[in-house]
């Protein structure tokens, strides 16, 4: 597991949010004709993610809407449970993929 996997997951979630908000954008008058191109980019990105990790992302997304959540002040901002200090020390570099022991969401350190 390397840094690129976590970056890919964050980028994938950014794309998923973009796709979800397309309707709201159209109402404001923004062009969204490239939706199929964006979906193709999503597919390309998913191929870069290890299959078990991608499956976990999709499962979490179905359950929680957002699969990857930020960590701030040692707290998972998905379930607001304080994370163990040992996890925060390792996780801060955003090199490996860690999940919240309480809610299972994938963690991304913002601090």
């Amino acid at each position: 597991m390397d840094e690129k996997q976590l970056r890919c997951l964050v980028a994938l979630q950014d794309i998923d949010i973009m796709i979800q908000e397309t309707e709201g954008e159209q109402k404001l008058g923004f062009k969204t004709e490239g939706i199929n191109k964006l979906k193709a980019t999503r597919e390309e990105l998913t191929e870069k993610i290890e299959k078990p990790l991608f499956r976990r992302y999709e499962l979490l997304r179905q359950h929680y809407k957002r699969a990857v959540v930020p960590v701030q002040d040692n707290t998972c901002l998905g379930c607001f449970v304080k994370l163990p200090t040992s996890l925060t020390t390792r996780g801060k570099e955003n090199i490996e993929v860690y999940t919240c022991e309480n809610c299972g969401r994938i963690l991304y350190w913002l601090d």
Binding site: R7, V10, A11, Q13, D14, I15, I17, M18, E21, T22, G24, E25, L28, G29, F30, K31, T32, E33, G34, I35, K37, L38, T41, R66, V68, V69, P70, Q72, L77, N94, Y108, W109, L110
Partner: protein, 154 residues
């Protein structure tokens, strides 16, 4: 959203009087660079990738020389707006094919406690639809003037 809340997302450090960029990608990179410098982004490339992908969805050049590149990314803590000008204009694939002179860049996290991202975007579009506001913004030289002009939209 009231005026106070609307303008709270702008910051003097994110007021770029003259962009050096000559292309859309360069403009996005330059503005994200300023954002990163002043707001300490953990991974500015994730923001940049997101903004470029948003442009692939459809250009955010709304015509009349204005663009509003925008989007949400997990790699940002809170919503920010940067304002930038280009005297020469930047080819931007805008709705009217005209070069862009004024850029409002909006970046927001996926979750905001007050859910202001789309209402903010809507209010900004509304303000920029007014020809008088656009004309004033084209002449705007400092942050205080920018805020004064935006006040006219409330």
């Amino acid at each position: 959203m009231d005026f106070q809340e609307f303008t709270s997302y702008f910051h003097p450090n994110l007021f770029i009087t003259e962009l050096k960029a000559e292309t859309k990608d360069e403009a996005l990179e330059e503005i994200v660079g300023v954002l990163s410098e002043h707001k300490g982004l953990k991974d500015k490339w994730l923001i940049l990738e997101m903004l470029k992908r948003r442009e692939n969805l459809g250009s955010t050049g709304i015509g009349h020389g204005i663009a509003i590149p925008h989007g949400r990314s997990l790699s940002i803590k809170e919503m920010f707006v940067a304002f930038a000008r280009s005297v020469d204009g930047i080819p931007y694939d805008s709705i009217d094919d005209e070069p862009v002179h004024l850029i409002f860049m909006i970046v927001a996290p996926p979750h905001e406690h007050n859910q202001n991202y789309l209402p903010f975007l809507g209010k900004l579009v509304e303000i920029l639809k007014e020809e008088g506001n656009r004309e004033q913004l084209a002449k705007c030289e400092n942050f205080d003037q920018l805020i004064d002009i935006l006040a006219g939209g409330f």
